[in-house]
């Protein structure tokens, strides 16, 4: 603890000033913060698309927008949320900020490449915004051929945008893997690394190994549109199902690019807010790697009704069940960690508990969809929509917000308001369940996804869902207000408000200095050792001293 000195108030935020010092920074912390703001900006845009969609669905033959616009909106909602928000999401923002700190490193392995990948992200997002402005696409974010080959709108521009964003993802992953291998502090062995690092490491493997396939797939669609090569176009002798193989070879691992960092954050939150050593450290670490590797083998479960051969369907179904096991292991290990802990219900922990609740639902409904015969009925219905929102929003996004709250004091040196935090968490939890739980039922009843209008019997449920989405929107707004409030008026944060045990809390001030640590940390023990010396812990307000 002695390594933290009050360094006369200089830190990475105020050491250099001005826009240029941010735009040209090589500091992983500043790059992480820039990612954070960019990602939440696009989350806002994607969210507005979603609310428009839900409003259209208030009545069976709604006429808020026309069919074409509706199709464009759900495409853009999907594309923005997937490629601009959740895929970079936790890894690029929190990962960039936290990973080198937790490893006891001064920076990531390649700081210039890191800044470059941020600018690649910005370039890609500018392309995406241009395609939205100059001719919104209506292909669905999955770009299924042959529809995407003949579709109108600036499809090529959007494909280029995602192609570019892919490289941002690749470079970030490459940087993190090298950092974890080469820049660990003295004494930081593999099994002394915090579980957040393990999760981000597994994510990075996926980013590096899967994203190039997306790049070539999208490039091939561009080539199809311009040269009519005929690889994916049946009219020219190609095969439409082959496109789906290509697309899901990336996009299924991409699902784990999204959820693994969420699990990584949860591992940190569970142990810190119960002040208890994580249960089954090695199991959680290995299960991250297992998920990463098995996730390459299950892409065909998106194609059970596509006309893929039954033999391949069978193999993919079996492999899909296999990937459920490590996820289950994690859930039970987190539960066991909480057992006999000292559980604080501070805001990050509320998101962590929401995660456990919602991700369990998301995971179990995934079991429905992995079962071949049941998936035949549920495929491409609202059941699937609900399932992946439970995993992506109920899982990843809850963890993301929880993680941002958790590291907020470290990032900005300011405390957030616990009252607003709890209010926001409750609204988000309620709104989310209201929006998506009814969609499981609608899906079972046979309500297909991507429908502009629908049979009247579904109206009540759609209305519940829409009002839920408004509640969810308000919840996110409260979160945003809390963060802005914290930035402007937050109380100064101590170095380690939650009494966490990882290096970013114990060995540097809040916010950290530009070079992260005054003295190079040396690690002597495992990551989650909660010693016996008495101390008071920040809990949620109103606790007796």
């Amino acid at each position: 603890m002695s390594a933290i000195s009050a360094h006369a108030g200089t830190n990475y935020l105020n050491e250099k000033k001005g826009i240029w010092s941010w735009a040209s920074t090589l500091d992983h912390k500043r790059i992480g913060v820039m990612y954070l703001f960019s990602i939440f900006f696009f989350f806002l845009i994607g969210g507005i698309f979603a609310l428009l969609l839900r409003t259209q669905l208030l009545s069976p033959a709604g006429s808020l927008i026309d069919a074409k616009t509706y199709n464009q909106l759900f495409t853009l909602h999907g594309a923005v949320m997937v490629f601009l928000v959740i895929v970079p999401g936790i890894a690029a923002s929190l990962g960039n900020f936290v990973l080198p700190l937790q490893l006891g490193a001064k920076d990531v392995a390649f700081p210039r490449l890191n800044l470059m990948s941020y600018y690649i992200y910005v370039t890609g997002s500018i392309f995406a915004v241009c395609s939205i402005i100059f001719g919104a696409i209506d292909t669905g974010w999955t770009f299924y051929a042959p529809y995407s080959i003949s579709a109108q709108g600036k499809v090529t521009l959007m494909l280029t945008a995602i192609f570019i964003l892919g490289f941002s993802s690749i470079f970030t992953g490459l940087n993190f893997i090298t950092t974890v291998h080469k820049l660990r502090a003295p004494g930081m062995t593999w099994f002394r690394m915090p579980l957040f690092v393990w999760g981000i490491y597994a994510t990075s493997i996926l980013q590096v190994m899967a994203t190039p396939v997306l790049a070539i797939t999208l490039a091939l669609i561009v080539v199809e549109r311009t040269l009519s090569v005929g690889i994916f176009n049946p009219a020219l002798g190609g095969d439409a199902v082959l496109f789906q193989h290509f697309f899901w070879f990336y996009s299924h691992p991409a699902v784990y690019i999204m959820i693994l960092p969420g699990m990584a954050v949860i591992s940190e939150l569970v142990t810190t807010f119960s002040q208890k050593k994580i249960f089954g450290y090695k199991m959680i670490a290995y299960s991250s790697i297992a998920i990463a590797l098995i996730s390459f083998l299950v892409w065909g479960h998106h194609m059970f009704t596509s006309g893929q051969s039954p033999l391949v369907n069978m193999l993919f179904s079996a492999l899909t069940f296999l990937v459920a096991i490590p996820s289950g292991i994690k859930i039970f290990n987190w539960l066991a960690t909480l057992f006999k802990g000292s559980i604080s219900l501070a805001t990050p922990m509320l998101y962590c508990l929401s995660f456990l609740f919602l991700f369990t639902i998301g995971g179990l409904t995934g079991v429905f969809l992995g079962t071949l015969s049941v998936d035949i009925h549920l495929h491409d219905t609202y059941f699937v929509v609900a399932h992946f929102h439970y995993v992506m929003v109920g899982g990843t996004f809850m963890a993301f917000i929880g993680g941002v709250y958790y590291w907020w004091p470290k990032m900005f040196g300011k405390m957030y308001s616990e009252k607003l935090g709890i209010l926001g968490a409750l609204l988000v939890f309620l709104g989310f369940n209201m929006t998506f739980f009814v969609q499981f039922y609608m899906g079972s009843q046979g309500m297909p996804r991507r429908y502009y209008n629908y049979l009247e019997q579904f109206q009540t449920l759609h209305q519940v869902s829409t009002f839920g989405s408004y509640l969810l929107g308000v919840g996110f707004l409260v979160v945003l207000i809390n963060w802005i409030h914290a930035l402007v008026k937050g109380a100064p944060a101590p170095a380690n408000p939650f009494h966490a045990t990882t290096l970013e809390w114990t060995h540097t001030q809040s916010p950290p200095i530009t070079h992260n640590f005054e003295v190079q940390p040396v690690v002597h023990h495992e990551p989650y050792e909660y010693g016996d010396e008495p101390h008071s812990i920040h809990g949620f307000q109103g606790l007796k001293a």
């Binding site: 490193a105 190039p212 396939v213 790049a215 070539i216 797939t217 020219l236 002798g237 082959l242």
Partner: protein
Amino acid sequence: MANINGSALFPLADHYATPEQQVDSGKLGMWLFLTTEILLFGGLFVSYACFNYLHMDVFKEAHKYLDWRLGAVNTVVLLFSSLTVVLAIHAAQKQKKYLIVINIALTIACGIAFMAVKYVEYSHKFHAGLLPGSYFTNATIANPDQAHIYFGIYFLMTGLHGFHVLIGIGIFVWLLLRTIKNDFSSQYYAPLELGGLYWHLVDVIWIFLFPLLYLIS
């Protein structure tokens, strides 16, 4: 000329503890990048495999319109350039600047020669209308319905590969300039090694493209 002056010491970035750490990080980063290249080309190899499987006879027929002798010449050219790259690194290790320069120059020359042969091949295909997709106009070939897919894949694979060769030439021109500026020595030649890794990968990909495209018997 062979002497290395003091300016060519190892430039150690301050977030690394030792030069070894920095060199190893660079190599690991480069290899990770190379795996992404492998998987990028992988998409095209998989398309090739699928359509070779579906239209085997068409592929066998269409490949006869490629000149395997030109392909073989290009294979030898690229293999030789790979040799000159390792010789350049070897020269750096031995602190022989003129050998670095000569070998890099040879590498660039090989790259240009490769592209020149490609130009000859491409212009022949353009002339004969053996082009991808809707631009396919060759009437002499049997099965024009599917042959255009073969040429689509041919142009995609060799085009993407040729693009990589062009980038490689650019990298080696940059390395040549830095060598002339005395940036490299036996203390520091990491950029040469990394550039070399990239160039070898481009070579390896061609090693597979040659039999797959030119020699399907």
